[in-house]
């Protein structure tokens, strides 16, 4: 139970790759060639930084739900820790995604209006999703007994993850939105993204997913130490 915290070599390799890739993505993201478009102009480079936040959120919610499911099967406390940390980081990346999206929208969609938020369906639904995941932590904190807390939070988490694809993809596409990728076809079809930008965008998604995983592993290790200290006071 305690020794199932993963391979240190894999962790260090991923960490080194993430640092190298992210550094490259930042350099290429600022200096690389992009198509010249009105309204977007140079802010199109935000694609490399804003969009991977949502990929990281999606990965986080799915990882969290998986471990919640396994927790319900096994009752292993480590599964509960993993589910909590994955959800916490998903929330962090979601917050970064929504704030970066707000800044981007403020100077493209809402330029000249002075608006930071105008209830665009894509933004509103994303905010609802973040509230749902915020509720997960409120629910956790409301219970003292670790087993009850783990079980109730795991069930809630399984319901929460089901809303994710609806709130991020399905519902916003049914409504008129300024957000790209809502025209019925998948967001990144063959014609949507200039080939030159793919060479930065895909590594960027990989790098941020890797960053998520590194942070997630760190927090799980730390939380697990805390759990063990709590259950074995002689340590």
């Amino acid at each position: 139970m305690a020794s199932s915290l993963g391979n240190t070599t894999v962790y260090r390799t991923v960490r080194a790759l993430v640092v190298a890739l992210l550094s490259g993505v930042i350099v290429a993201g600022f200096l690389g060639q992009i198509p010249q478009l009105d309204i977007l102009e140079q802010s199109a480079r935000n694609l490399y930084f804003h969009v991977p936040m949502w990929f990281a959120l999606m990965m986080g919610t799915v990882i969290s739900a998986y471990h919640s499911f396994r927790y319900l099967q096994s009752g292993d406390r480590l599964r509960d820790v993993r589910a909590r940390e994955a959800a916490w980081l998903a929330l962090l990346f979601g917050l970064l995604g929504i704030v970066t999206g707000m800044v981007w929208a403020r100077f493209t969609w809402y330029v000249g209006t002075g608006k930071w938020w105008n209830f665009d369906p894509k933004q509103s639904m994303a905010a609802v999703l973040l509230l749902i995941y915020g509720g997960y932590f409120v629910l956790r904190d409301s219970m003292e007994d670790p087993d009850t807390r783990g079980r109730v939070a795991a069930v809630y988490n399984l319901f929460a993850v089901v809303t994710m694809p609806f709130l991020l993809y399905i519902l916003p596409r049914q409504l008129p939105s300024l957000h790209p990728g809502g025209e019925g076809s998948p967001a990144f079809s063959q014609t949507d993204l200039a080939p030159a930008m793919r060479w930065v965008f895909y590594p960027s998604v990989l790098a941020f997913l890797g960053l998520f995983w590194v942070l997630y592993t760190q927090r799980v290790r730390l939380s697990w130490i805390r759990e063990r200290l709590r259950s074995e006071p002689e340590l």
Partner: protein, 95 residues
């Protein structure tokens, strides 16, 4: 190149249906106030719209950086808590 994600037929900012009914004079008011946005950008926009809006990208990257730093500090705080707990426990053992 597609400059705007909305198709031309999509309902744009809710002014269009009213424009089609010229019997309502108030519908035209908002149409005219729309034009005032053509003035030169003020304050924050003057900075952010400069140099092809590159400062928007800088702001976004900085926000993500702040997020990573937040993580760093929270992890530190958690280590502090664990260290304090260990410090409380260990001196009691030899005594």
């Amino acid at each position: 190149m597609i400059l705007h994600p909305l198709p031309a037929s999509a309902p744009a900012p809710s002014l269009r249906p009213q424009q089609a009914r010229p019997d309502s004079a108030a519908a035209y008011d908002s149409t005219w106030t729309e034009q005032s946005s053509a003035q030169s950008p003020q304050g924050l926009e003057r900075v952010m719209l400069d140099d092809g809006k590159i400062y928007v990208v800088l702001a976004v990257v900085l926000i993500i950086w702040i997020g990573v730093v937040t993580m760093l500090f929270r992890t530190d705080r958690r280590i502090d808590t664990l260290e304090r707990r260990l410090d409380q426990d260990i001196p009691e053992d030899p005594a």
